[in-house]
């Protein structure tokens, strides 16, 4: 039993002054006397209410739906009867099993992590309830079964509800290895009909996000940050700000100057009136120079990340030689909810409400900023209005800003970023340039493939984040070299939904398409041959191609393109159909997607993630680009960082492979194939290759 669970606070809203939302902390059901906390994840109250604690952040990818289903399956309760609670920051109880001793969400790991852990948690609770019932009824436990919230003894038709058994079960010790159901007995996992528990609250406006929570005495802070990446604050003059209504304080913090007001508007007006002087760094790159420097590196050998066969020989032996350069820009995540958090600080305690994506790191950095121990920092994880990786970053930027400001002003602080702060604020998907040199043999089959990547490292020394999707290219090509250059630049970069695969899939799948055409082969046919040893790639490829009607002619002006990619151990193939209008207008009309993510735990969530991943990837492929000028981003809001809109959304069909493999993630793998599928479709329609993203909404000249 976990004392953490018993002491956990959760949020309730009460109508406060002026109809406002006020926050009160009350003790959760879990602390009710007699409640049965079977483990860190499952609690059953004496009225039978089941609470499942979800340790991953719900940022839209459906963890609050899929993870409780794993418990429900083994515990034998209806998913709709489960209350979902987000776990407190506690790396001992709630670490990400794939990351070691740290709690956090990302890398599409939630389902892979939880597949065994949460089924075991549900099964352990079930076994303890059965044991409690056996003792209560003084019969052998072999005659007892768990059904829909009750333990039933069929021969005598006696039944005891979970609520009735809770306090007895609480006194038992949990089994180490509770038996798990065989897949043949699943009634929830893989079945249609499981609903998202949060749809209603997210439709009627009652779901709480960071900016929605209010505390008595709370103030709102915006931060004036450096106008150029790497600039340092020299001086600031707050006198004009302090004369404005609603201004509470203007305080320097480590990232800039926090302007604190009674509300967002006051703080925003105040920030606009602040006079700041900055010391600019010497190195202030621009996109054009970055591009030039990257391109120069393409001619130099990089660090070898894969080397098979003899590259130079392979290239020489080839009958046809091909080379190409592919380019992907910097990208902002631009989640719909700009970053924010709420911080309440006292002498010995720091409470944070945030859509925290990396609780352990956030807790440690918050503690440092507050001058407290990590154990004195309590993080209430709440819904995040998207993240796509942005909230998990190397400095816990928005959390630290909130804590530092709260410390300086001595009141609860709601720290908010504006959209301009978000788009221009860095933490971008790094720009990459990909250089290819390849050779085909006399039969038109790829013989040699040399791929050089140039782009900033997200974490220095961790090449995998740059080359994933390229270094593990699945195609059987005898001579295969992959090399990496990781130039250093003062532009902050970060993982962005699907990380390395967000650019490697574009480059490799487009270039493979080039090889197919150069060798006179159908792109599907060539992939079939080269993927003979990769059944899961082949499986999704065949499924998507068949459903899309690959090979069936399209009218002039239309084209079909194909891409297949593995990321985060899930396999996705997509076929895009595009139409090119008389003025070169590009319309992506239809996308057929096949996914193999192992056991499809909640199929509708998987479909939603493929739809969302395609929209996200397409948005970037068509429009997404942050350009840098003199060390600063040139874009600032959705007018110049354009995102996909309703009228630009293609029809999408998602097909899920049957699989008995352990489930893998779906939050990211839908993204990588869409850019190459669309670019390959544009080639099929027009004979023109797109080698540089974004494409734009018209054919480039």
């Amino acid at each position: 039993m976990s004392p953490q669970l018993n002491r956990r606070d959760f949020l309730v809203l009460a109508a406060g002054a002026g109809g406002g939302l006020t926050l009160a902390a009350v003790t959760a059901d879990a602390a009710e006397p007699g409640a049965f906390a079977a483990n860190a994840f499952v609690t059953i109250a004496t009225d039978g209410k089941v609470t499942v604690t979800v340790k991953h952040l719900e940022m839209g990818q459906g963890v609050a739906t899929g993870l409780p289903v794993l418990v429900a399956e083994e515990l034998e309760v209806a998913p709709a009867a489960i209350r979902v609670a987000f776990a407190p920051a506690n790396a001992k109880l709630y670490n990400n099993l794939l990351w070691g001793p740290t709690q956090g969400t990302g890398g599409s790991t939630a389902m892979a992590n939880s597949w065994k852990q949460l089924r075991k948690a549900g099964a352990a609770a079930r076994e303890m309830l059965i044991e409690a019932a056996a003792r209560r009824l003084r019969i052998d436990r072999a005659g007892l079964v768990a059904i829909d919230g009750e333990i039933v003894h069929w021969p005598t038709a006696r039944r005891l509800s979970y609520g009735e058994l809770a306090s007895d079960a609480a006194r038992l010790s949990p089994p180490d290895n509770p038996p798990l159901k065989p897949a043949s007995e699943f009634r929830l996992i893989g079945k249609a009909g499981v609903k998202r528990p949060d749809s209603k609250a997210k439709s009627n406006g009652s779901a709480l996000f960071g900016g929605d929570i209010r505390l008595p005495g709370m103030v709102t802070a915006l931060v004036a940050r450096p106008p150029v990446f790497g600039a340092k604050l020299k001086a600031f003059d707050r006198s004009a700000v302090l004369r404005l209504p609603g201004i509470v304080a203007v305080v320097p913090i480590s990232s800039g100057v926090a302007v604190v007001g009674t509300d967002f508007w006051a703080a925003r007006r105040g920030r606009a009136a602040l006079k700041l002087e900055w010391t600019l760094p010497d190195q202030r790159p621009s996109s054009a120079t970055i591009r030039q420097d990257f391109t120069v590196l393409l001619d130099q050998p990089g660090k070898t990340v894969r080397n098979e066969g003899d590259g130079a020989l392979g290239l020489e032996l080839g009958v046809t030689r091909l080379n190409a350069v592919y380019e992907s820009p910097y990208l902002a995540h631009a989640p719909m909810e700009p970053l924010n958090c709420l911080v309440r600080l006292s002498r010995d305690r720091c409470e944070i409400w945030a859509g925290s994506q990396s609780q352990t790191a956030d807790q440690a950095r918050a503690a440092k900023a507050a001058g407290l121990e990590p154990s004195q920092v309590e993080i209430h994880t709440i819904h995040a209005g998207g993240s796509f990786g942005r909230r998990a970053n190397a400095t816990s930027d928005y959390i630290v800003e909130g804590v530092e400001t709260a410390r300086a002003v001595g009141a609860p602080v709601r720290l908010m970023w504006t959209r301009e702060d978000d788009i221009a604020g860095g933490c971008y998907r790094p720009a990459f340039v990909h250089g290819f040199d390849a050779a085909l043999d006399g039969g038109g089959m790829p013989l040699a493939w040399r791929h050089r990547l140039v782009g900033q490292a997200i974490i220095e020394g961790v090449d995998a984040l740059s080359v994933e999707g390229a270094a593990n290219l699945p195609y059987a090509i005898p001579h295969l070299q992959v090399e990496l250059h990781s130039p250093k630049l003062p532009i902050p970069v970060l993982w962005w939904r699907s990380v390395g695969s967000s650019h490697t899939a574009f480059a490799t799948e487009c270039f493979l398409d080039e090889l197919a055409h150069a060798g006179g082969k159908d792109p599907l046919e060539l992939r079939r041959v080269l993927l003979a040893d990769h059944p899961r790639h082949l499986g999704v490829l065949e499924l998507a191609a068949a459903k899309a009607g690959w090979g069936v002619p399209l009218p002039p002006g239309k084209g079909r393109g194909l891409a297949v990619h593995e990321s985060f151990h899930s396999f996705v193939a997509q076929v895009a159909e595009v139409k090119i209008g008389p003025k070169g207008e590009i319309t992506v009309e239809r996308v057929v997607c096949a996914v193999d993510c192992g056991v499809a735990v909640t199929p509708d969530v998987i479909r939603a993630q493929m739809e969302g991943g395609i929209a996200f990837g397409l948005s970037a492929a068509l429009f997404g680009e942050i350009t840098i000028r003199d060390g600063a981003a040139e874009q600032s809001n959705f007018h110049d960082y354009r995102c996909l809109r309703m009228s630009e959304m293609p029809r999408i069909e998602v097909h899920i492979m049957d699989s008995a493999a352990a489930p893998t993630g779906v939050g990211e793998p839908g993204v990588p194939p869409i850019a190459p599928a669309v670019c390959n479709a544009i080639f099929a329609a027009t004979g023109k290759r797109i080698r540089r993203l974004p494409i734009g909404d018209r054919m480039p000249e």
Binding site: L21, N204, G211, D212, W265, A334, P335, N637, M646
Partner: protein, 154 residues
């Protein structure tokens, strides 16, 4: 001091006349369902109804809507609003959910004007509402289903 009629209730609000309605709703009246996504009339997260018409509230000065009837997601309780919220839930439209109040308000204004919208009508009415999670196809399906239900369909 401004007199606002929000969700049928009259409020006296002490705010600068240039304060956008969005922040009056969120920070003064405590109605958190209307969201901030851009502050530049670019994303639709802040969409509300003014006299039944969908308007983005993030650049709308409170002084301009004094005395007008304002509806937010919290007060969307007519047949159209209830139906939209129900079908949104039924089709599991939201992912992160942050854009959805704005989406539903835009849809409500659309169905009020055009009870059986075409895809093109939906595109026109909803193109100002971004969804970074890409729920557009489900939104489209939900609008059609709501129209069907409101027209007496089961």
């Amino acid at each position: 001091m401004f007199s606002l009629i929000v969700n049928g209730e009259r409020h006296k609000v002490d705010a600068a006349p240039d304060m956008p309605l969005l922040w009056v709703l969120r920070d003064i009246l405590g109605l958190g369902g209307t969201k901030y996504g851009c502050g530049q009339n670019q994303c639709g997260a802040c969409t509300i109804l003014v006299d039944g018409e969908a308007k983005q509230s993030c650049m709308l000065p409170v002084g301009a809507v004094s005395g007008r009837r304002i509806t937010t997601i919290e007060g969307l309780d007519g047949a159209i609003g209830k139906t939209l919220i129900a079908v949104w839930t039924e089709l599991d439209v939201p992912q992160c959910g942050f854009c959805q109040s704005g989406q539903i308000l835009s849809a409500a204004a659309l169905l009020r004007r055009i009870p059986r919208p075409t895809d093109a009508d939906i595109d026109t009415a909803m193109d100002g509402n971004l969804c970074r999670c890409g729920t557009y196809n489900r939104i489209r399906a939900a609008v059609h289903l709501a129209a069907f239900r409101l027209g007496g369909g089961k």
